[in-house]
Symmetry: C2
Subunit: 186 residues, 2 copies
DNA sequence: ACTGTTTATGCAACTAGTTGCACAAGGTGA
DNA sequence: TCACCTTGTGCAACTAGTTGCATAAACAGT
């Protein structure tokens, strides 16, 4: 139940249309809360109906016509409420770890190539984060807002660092395993 | 679409009833693929209908009567197929990171207490993983199956280590921030 | 006997996210 | 000027996961 809050945050950072939001979700917010454009448009409709945001009255709202939104005071209040409310962490689900556990019983055949592919994806993501860090967070004392955003980026960098290291270890382990793995014994 | 495969894996490790599966999801598989008992029973029904598992014919199947399942050859084949097939990583969603980003625009009031609570939860989880490692994976050369399972546990340990360190850094940063944060400026 | 608790199975309704597609406006090139 | 591509908005159906509750047997206490 956090997509509306992700949208409120993005809109507070900058008033945007649906498509602009979609683009920013692909680059920034979406790194830790992804959403498709269909979700975003649906949610914008709900948020507007609930009086948390409103469309900027600049242009006539027609299909194929850009429509920008801004956050209303009620929206900011709701976001502040949600941010400060205590929340339990949601259980994670990670298909790759599950597949490794499955490989322990049905064999590792074919898995190594995909581990390699995942390693590449995580390396690329890590490089992207590090570029953002270099560009947007040069060393030096910053205000609270910048430091908080930097903290979030650090989480992304450290997570990708973890994954690349773990995947490298996994691949090294695979190299020592008998070909095909446990399935041989079946 | 991985709950069926999580169940197949768990059943291959050990034939179980719905409740036994539920318990094991709470302790072990569930660390990276959680599921409620309702989900598990529903999925067991589907897997049986699809001919991937079957109920052990020992006892009469009545409500309130334990019913154990085992994996059929078709189920093992499907799990092997799924494990070796290439899969894209699913986009993550992390409410805590989103809240931090929101806090950058609406203020950090109330957030610190919850960060502290999350830190405690992750410390507890880390301790639990380390206990499991000590108990189930004593040092020494192991077979492929044990090494794969250890690798999965290492991922859990490293992830929890990341979170505890990141949260400690976040709390240290908070201590230096002006009280309440950016909301002050509003 | 009867009350309550634990173990065990399961259905139904709801919420959130995904996938596939449709529609409209404006620009580009043949 | 017609066919096609891009930009922008949006609906509908589907899939996966969550929440709330119902049912039944076994057992323990009184």
């Amino acid at each position: 139940m956090s997509l509306p809050h992700a949208i409120l945050t993005a809109l507070l950072e900058k008033k945007s249309s649906g498509l602009e939001l979609t683009r920013r979700f692909d680059r920034s917010i979406g790194y830790f809360w992804s959403a498709t454009h269909q979700q975003i448009y649906r949610e914008l409709g709900k948020l507007e109906a609930d009086g948390l945001i409103r469309a900027l009255p600049s242009e006539q709202p027609a299909r194929g016509q850009k429509k920008s939104y801004e956050v209303l005071p009620a929206g900011r209040a709701e976001l502040a409420r949600w941010t400060s409310a205590s929340q339990d962490p949601k259980p994670h689900r990670d298909a790759l770890l599950l597949r490794l556990r499955a490989a322990a019983v049905v064999g590792t055949a074919g898995l190594e190539a995909d581990l390699r592919r995942h390693l590449e994806l995580h390396e690329r993501q890590l490089a992207e984060y590090e570029e953002i860090e270099e560009r947007d967070f040069p060393p030096g004392r910053d205000g609270a807002e910048v430091r908080l955003r930097h903290l979030v980026l650090r989480a992304g960098i450290d997570l990708e660092t973890f994954w690349t290291q773990w995947l490298r270890r996994a691949l090294a382990d695979f190299a020592e395993l008998p070909d095909g793995g446990p399935a041989e014994q079946v």
